[in-house]
Structures are given as C-alpha cells and as structure tokens.
Symmetry: C2
DNA sequence: ATGAAAGCGCTAACAG
DNA sequence: CTGTTAGCGCTTTCAT
C-alpha cells in the first residue's frame, strides 16, 4: 500500500539537468540572479518529473511554519463564514495555511487552543475572543516571542496587537436613537453577563443616545444574560414581570433578540407596537423571524480581509500602526418590522 | 523586535544533562528502552528550560506533515460547527492539526483547494463535497499516493474512501410518509439542480414512500433548484401557479423550505392546512420560522467524530472496512407545526 | 540503557 | 550567474 512513486527532490532535478541543487532551488523560487534559460529548464524539468516542493524541509530551514492560527468563538454564522472567506483569500495569496479552532465561547478552551497553537509554532494569530474572555494573558507568550497577533470583531485592546472592529458604540447609538425616534422611552438593554469590550462599547452607545435625547438612564432596564436564544426567552419573562413595562428592547445580538421576541409574542405582546425590538449582527434568523428583526449588519468579508492583511504586513515587517492601533469598519442599521411603527 | 529568548533544542537539554541528544529525544517521547530516572530528568529539564518540541524538524524527519485537511461546502451551520467540534476532538487527541477550507459549494474552488492541500502534503483528508460535485477525479492524486481520504455527509462512493453519512433514503421516506399520514396526496419534492448522491438518495426515499402508499409518482411535482432561501421563494411561485395545487412539500434542505414557506404565507396560503411543509437538517431557522418547520435532525458531532476516527485508523493502518465501505448514522424526524394538522 | 552518526530536503552564506 | 558547504532540529539505525 505505501509504495507510491518515489517523491522527486531538487537533487533529482539537479542530477537530471547536471547542475547544482542550489541552482534548482533558486530557479524554482524565481530568484533574480538565475539565468532565465536555466530557470526555464528547471521549471520544465520540475513539471515533467512531477516534482512538488517539500514545505516541511523548507519550513524547517526557514524556521517558519507557514501556518496562521485562527481562533474564533463559533463558526456557526454566515458572518463568520464570510470573515473566513476574506481571511482565506488574503492568506492563501500570501502562501499561508490556515488552522482554525473554535473556542465555543469558552475561555478555558480558548486558553487551551492558544497553548496548542503556540506549541505548533504558528507564524501568526488571528483572534476573535470568546464572549467571556476578560484578559489576554494566554496570548502573552506570542507577544513575547514576537509572533504577530491581530484581533478582529471581539478584540482586546493591546499596544502590540492591532484590532479590527466596527464602531460598536456608534452602531449601538444609532440603534437606540432609532428606537427613541419610534417613540420608545423605556428601552431595555440586553447585554452580556460579562462585559467584553464589544459589549461595553455597545452599552456606552446605548447610554449616550439616552443622554442625548434626555431620557434618564435606568439601571433596572439593563439585563445581563448569556445571549443565547433561551436566554432571550428568559429575558422576555423578566420584562413581562416588570412593574412599569418597557416599550423598547435593544439586545446586543440577534439570537437573544429573536428568543426574546418570540417569547413576548407567545405572551400576547404586540411587536413593535407595544414593544419595539432590535438586535445586532443580521444573522440569518433576523430575516426569518416574524416580524423581521431590526439589526445592525457589517461586512464580515471585509473584516477578515483587513485583519489578515494587517497580519501579513506584520509578518513582513511592513506594518505601520494606525492611531490607537485600531481599525474601524463601517456598519449599517437595517430597519425591519420589529421596530418600525406606523405613524 | 525579533530577538526573543533563543529557542531551546534537545541539544541544549543534552548538554545541560550531560547525555546525548538521542537519549533526550527518546526520553521526551517516552520511549520504552530509556531508564525511568533519565526520563524524569529529561522531562524536568525540558520543563524548566522552557523547551517546546520543533514539529517542523520532527515532521521532516518522519516525512509526515501532521496536518489533516478538511474540505466542506460551507461552514455556516450549527450542523457543520458540531461536525468540526467532533473532528477536532478526535484529531487533537491523535495529535493532528486541522486545516479547514470551504469550497462555498463551488466545484472549481473545490478542485483548487484539493490541489493546494495535495501540495501542502496533508497526511489525510476529510471531505464533504460541494453541492454540484459529480465526480471525484480531483481527489485521485491522494488515492494514488495512498493518502487516506474519508468522506462525510456529502459523499462520493469509492472503493478506497470510506463514507460516513445518514440513511438519506430512509429519512426522506419517513418525511414523506409523515406528510402522507397528515393527509397529503400531492407532494412536491424540491431537490437540487444537480443530483448529488445525497439528493438522489432522498429523492429515492420520497419515491419509495409514494409507491408504498399507492400514490402515483408525478414528475411535474419535482422541482430542481439551487436550494437557497430565494430559490425556495421562487419554487413557491411555481407552486402557486400550478393548475392542480399540491397539498404538501418536501424540500431537501431547510433554507429552501423556509424560503418557500414564507413566500406561500405571504400569498395567503395557510400552512399546514392547505399545504404542509417539511425540510431537512434542522437549521436554526427551522425553529424560528412560523410555523415551526418539520425537518430531519442528525448529530453532527457524532458524524465528525466517526469520520475522524476512521481517518485516524486508516493513518495507523488499523482500519478494517465495513461492508460497502459506508457508515450510516441515525437521524430523526422532528415534527413541528408546518406539517402537523389538527384532526 | 545509552551514544555516535547519518540524513530527512531545503536554503543561504560565501566563494568563485 | 552558479557551485560548495553547512546546517535547520529531530529521529533512527547501528553499535556498544
């Protein structure tokens, strides 16, 4: 079973062509100082002899793995799919391999993955943190070794690690403003149990909008949850039991918003007339649920591309930090029926 | 920037302990013929000196990349997420790295990915084919070189390549049977434009159920689509224009079923009373749409685990083929309101 | 139970 | 422009 045709090496080509292996190597990698004719001969021979380069050997020699690690909370969204497509495009053009792991939004798993990637000698790292990650000590080993690390979406502010994200505060401000303009005065904010930078920024956007529109901030209207569909349903119960029932809800993700919306309707609440609802992310469910969920969309593809591009630049030492080491991408409010009141 | 502490090698440990590098190597990999005391010393030294093994070097020596390639149509589903978790569990225990690529259900991209993985010298391959892949010639190079390949979910029957899937025909039979028992007599079947093995099996299950229940098979009730949400909506239009309107729909995926369901309702069709609908996969949307979509669920985690396990066994040469080289996993019909008629 | 030595296939000084 | 040479860090005969 295990004797397929022998692998061809540069030595075989060298012998065949009566030149040195070094020249073959140079010819293959298109080194400038090789005669164009020799180059041609080498490349033709490689082709016809069925040569494929041995990355293991060249990587060992160059002390690089050519592998980029990607750590995300969860792969299960079209947003993340698009991010990966963007990343993949940039990295494959730059000849890197992508090793993907999902932390399942579990900080313990994230630590473990980081360690594994460190031992596997990835050349660089792209990370979107787990929901409940509050510090980034488990990534310090990379920073210390000078292995570049770029955060995206769920970032951790760090002097050495650029972050690509949207302006969460601004987007959240716009969502809240929209609800206010629809007439909402008591707006519940459903956020994460532990305030990541993303959650915090959105929280601040929410508060700022209230402030600007002279609506008092009411602490009792902020609900801290795990952000799953069921958590949304649970939040709905809490809301139903509130003495002074709110007239608007802004959840920081769609799953939670949808769970909440469905539960409220099940209990006879009219959406958006009694309570208007908005989410965040534009997951597939946002357009499927009835009524359609108002939400914030942002382009994963672009985010992946930008993050990967920065990483490649860091790997090539051509990266020049932007101010604050952050890149902000555009996002957009999508208004659907869950928040649109007929005047 | 790039002078972090020097990497420790087995030679450093050897020197430190006044033994040979060979012994260190053996000690580190727990070789039986090494004195237990020496082993301890080696492992302690490795620990305290901050050693991490260099996979690049050992891989070169062992002529293995330690990388498994995973090719899927699309990462965007909780089903696929679970598959990957299952795969990841088995492979990381077996000390393999996972490189993931998505073909975006595009056969051209799939061919390109296969070639890249071949050149990157993956040790093995796990593949779920793109929707429109009709042959597997682009994987023959792997077979020829004796690189093990295991298909899952969307498989291509091949003597050398085991496939892990569910009993699609049986599941489709059960869906159709359920619709028939709800009183449906004219059941539309929405399937893929190109009949993959998965689509074909489901198609056959559908036909068999009709046969068993003495319902004539009507070719005009079979709709060939691209299976997206919008394609479902388009299918709904086709159905609305049918002279003799059907009373049941069985789509082979949920996205398409949901698109169809929403469009029918928009046109005033009562679901399930006028038309009952069922899908396949239990995507998140199936439980969000109203009415809830009847569908087929199967455990991705298990499928990933089994496929990866088989691959590992093939890599260790301990795999013994099952009959027909196929493994069938369980699936289950989930009945929701989209097909449940009150009697 | 341990060591010496060779070599996996490639790249990068250095020399010419 | 090309060749020589020396490793990258590890594993593995073959000795001892």
């Amino acid at each position: 079973m295990s004797n397929p045709e022998k692998e061809i090496t540069i030595y075989d080509i060298a012998r065949h062509l009566n030149i040195s292996a070094a020249t073959v190597s140079r010819g293959l990698m298109d080194h400038p100082s090789v005669n164009i004719l020799t180059k041609q001969k080498v490349q033709e021979a490689a082709q016809s002899m069925g040569y494929r380069s041995n990355h293991l050997a060249s990587n060992l020699r160059k002390k690089r793995s050519n592998i980029i690690g990607l750590i995300v909370g969860n792969l299960d969204s079209s947003f993340m799919t698009n991010i990966i497509v963007g990343i993949d495009k940039v990295l494959s053009e730059a000849n890197y391999n992508l090793v993907i792991s999902q932390s399942l939004d579990n900080i313990g798993k994230e630590v473990q993955i980081a360690k594994a990637m460190y031992n596997n000698r990835v050349d660089g790292l792209l990370v979107s943190l787990a929901y409940d990650t509050e510090n980034a000590e488990h990534f310090e080993s990379f920073v210390k070794r000078g292995i570049p690390l770029v955060y995206f979406d769920r970032i951790f502010p760090h002097e050495k690690c650029p972050g690509v994200e949207i302006d969460n505060a601004k987007a959240a401000y716009e969502v809240t403003e929209h609800l206010i303009r629809q007439g909402c005065r008591r707006i519940v904010h459903i956020t994460a149990y532990r305030l990541s930078s993303v959650a915090l920024d959105r929280f601040n956007g929410y508060k700022q909008a209230l402030l600007d529109y002279n609506i008092p901030y009411d602490e009792s209207l902020v609900l801290y949850t795990e952000l799953g569909i069921e958590d949304g349903a649970r939040a709905a119960q809490t809301i139903l039991n509130m003495p002074n029932r709110p007239d608007g809800i802004f959840a920081i993700n769609d799953a939670c918003a949808v769970g909440c919306l469905k539960e409220l309707r099940k209990n006879g609440v009219s959406i958006p007339d009694e309570i208007a609802i908005a989410g965040f992310n534009d997951d597939a469910v946002a357009d499927i649920v009835e009524p359609g969920l108002t939400t914030v969309i942002y382009k994963g593809y672009e985010m992946g591309e930008v993050a990967a591009q920065i990483l490649v630049e860091k790997l090539n030492n051509t990266y020049t930090a932007t101010s604050g080491n952050k890149v902000l991408l555009k996002s957009e409010l999508i208004i659907r029926e869950s928040s649109l009141r007929r005047k």
